[in-house]
Symmetry: C3
């Protein structure tokens, strides 16, 4: 058995990143290794120019009568939760090489919380036998 | 091995809740324990005031030429499927404590199908060694 | 242990289908069996009339300052990646029977890359003991 928790993180809105960070922090606090692969809009959210901006909420928040947080998306502490998780335990955050290419991004434009680029095969090999989530 | 199926349920539209309920009911019918943690918009959908309303469809339904169900989202039997799953087998539906706080909700305002609040660590511990999905 | 990777594929936008296809191709390249169940909008995207059209991008792409691919969604090679994955290894793509009914579709209207209809219980039984993702 592999007790690592692997997250293929695709979404880039503050609410979904917060849910992901909460799960990552919970696993790290339990002493489990956490491996995160940033794809598409999650990768884009970790660019230096965007990471401290208001990333908005997912489309689900626009349903009739939803309980949108009073302070809106700007105050959702998704980044702080990822930083805390990284300090708590053994967590890596890597940028999917294919998504870097698709979005035309350079790994050097990402926030230093990102450890570096990673291919999908290496990510899947590290995840094998453990739990993996797509978020 | 843990044969439980755990769902971190984030989304609150009728179509995604229906897909989740179908998977949960399938696992329950196979005799597997099912543990569901409601986060964000899924949690919001289980409020007494919203659970019987039209929760709409996900953004994917708005693509060009999609086959939207004739009766629309209002008739998608997501709640009936969850109720059936709960009767079929061993299924718990819990409210993520962190999401209750973020959305400013009280657990008492949730439909009785929700068993109570639960922290992320307890959810992850129950899920360990089994399958876990983020929906 | 079951080394199969199972994907419950719900989303039907080009970016999310591409992320799914990349993961499927990576697993197939590593020699792992891959089982895909198409639900809702992913199923709808595999209809003969839609599979070669522009399926658009997910709502996340509409956030402020996102790095939308220069060529837009039309050029994202999600279908080519699925076709390649199927040639690379042992991959099945099946249509969820329940979603066929909900959307009013006939399995005969799907692209031949789809192997046939499948119930949720059969999908879960094949996935048991392995990794499963909801995308």
């Amino acid at each position: 058995m592999n007790d690592a928790l692997s997250l293929a993180l695709f979404s880039g809105t503050a609410d979904k990143l917060h849910a992901a960070a909460t799960i990552a922090a919970g696993a790290a606090a339990l002493g489990r290794p956490v491996n995160i692969l940033l794809q598409y809009w999650a990768l884009d959210a970790f660019r230096v120019e965007r990471i401290e901006t208001n990333l908005g909420l997912s489309y689900d928040s626009m349903g009739e009568g939803t309980s949108v947080p009073v302070a809106g998306a700007a105050k959702i502490p998704w980044l702080e939760t990822f930083r805390m998780a990284k300090e708590l335990g053994d967590m890596t955050i890597q940028a999917c090489s294919g998504s870097l290419e698709t979005l035309g991004l350079d790994a050097g434009r990402l926030d230093p919380i990102v450890d570096g680029p990673c291919g999908i095969a290496a990510f899947l090999m590290a995840a094998e036998g453990g739990q993996i989530l797509f978020i």
